[in-house]
Symmetry: C2
Subunit: 239 residues, 2 copies
Amino acid sequence: MIDLHLKKLRARDAVSAEEEAALRAAVSETRTFRADQLIVKQRVTTNDCVLLLSGISGCFKDLRSGERQITKLQIGGDFLDLHGLTLKPLDHNIIALTPCTVAVFPHAALHALTEAHGHLTRLLWFQTNLDGAVQREWEVSLGRRTALQRLAHLFCEMQARMELVGLGDAKGYAFPLTQAEIAECTGLTPVHVNRTLKELRERGLVEVRSGRVDIADLPALRAAGEFDPAYLYLDKCPV
Amino acid sequence: MIDLHLKKLRARDAVSAEEEAALRAAVSETRTFRADQLIVKQRVTTNDCVLLLSGISGCFKDLRSGERQITKLQIGGDFLDLHGLTLKPLDHNIIALTPCTVAVFPHAALHALTEAHGHLTRLLWFQTNLDGAVQREWEVSLGRRTALQRLAHLFCEMQARMELVGLGDAKGYAFPLTQAEIAECTGLTPVHVNRTLKELRERGLVEVRSGRVDIADLPALRAAGEFDPAYLYLDKCPV
DNA sequence: CGTGCCCTTGAGTACAATCAACGTTCGTGG
DNA sequence: CCACGAACGTTGATTGTACTCAAGGGCACG
């Protein structure tokens, strides 16, 4: 059930059979969510963490104007609110952008895990730090990159993350977000996303339609978005 | 020496005398840095974490264009690269924006700490998660807020963080960053920062000059920046 | 065969960037 | 004590990227 997550972990460090068993045993149940349903609500204290098994979700914050900023996208194998283990209640919402299934880890089980398994705790900690690295890169996009670079970079990031857990390859991946949602990720308006996607298409870099990202030229797309996957720590980095 | 840090920790949760002693014992040395000197270099593996004792530092990433984006500001009491305990080497630089002094914690000492002290480990983990919360808020600013809101929000955030560790109060705090550096934090140009600071001044909200932020009207400044301190977790939140 | 959602395109606008010049402050050295 | 230079701050004029407003088109679903 949490195989995608183990794949993600083992890409970075060894996970012993004992640690794997402890992780699997910490799951209490699974839940499903419809698209646009809130998975975790801001300001509400919960007693468990959830791990995404399938679908795409996103963290976002609302503004008074009614706009919202998506601060991170999450795919199968990603913990959605592992940071909620120490940050209760959460400072943001998490929403299912497509139909989602999640595995539930009671805080008590994770808590016990941190008392008993030093290395596994660091592995979990690593993942929240990795989330921070991704957020830093989003800050760079939002602060300094052009619209074309932001979109190119986003599609490259998702490509690398999807490929790591086997949900995509160098040619593309499923990505059923609307242009309005892509706009909320990149700090643009839906109209400008539309025009920029057109330009990416016309430049022969990437096509985004009918729920898929089809990458025509990955090296060129990476160059266009100044994408360097180092911040994703895709290689072994024992904790 | 690490008193500011303990003040920061104890604002959120109890720290036992034993935990305090363990933390103090983990410090190997102190170092000083001149303004504009790199404290931690991107892509270079280090064997220790550093805690800022005095001064202001920032995390940043370079772009090919020569611009850079500062992704986080750090003040006395903040760990600069605690996430580097699991993320080696780092994906970003850390630079002293003013003269800085830091305390050095060898990874081995922190590593041992995580094996022996479950609660203290979660306290450290909490801090990296808190960094993530701050970064999320910066993403919102960079993605969706106007120039005026971004600056107002930044000054409010620093006010709250400074006050927590006794480096400022509701009236203001020392903030010797250049307008160019503020621009690198907020995704603006130095010229536009200058104009917007002028507007903040003329609106009677805040004055930024000669290395200080003088807040004329904190509630109004918070309203202007849509600042809600909840994301800083300033109150008790036991981990 | 509507209806609603999403995508697409056009026209006009605005916020912030860019380019350029000038002012201020402060440290240094003649 | 004052001249000089460098760094930083301020202001004006102009440009441009992305936003806003608006309308039309494609497609899926009931």
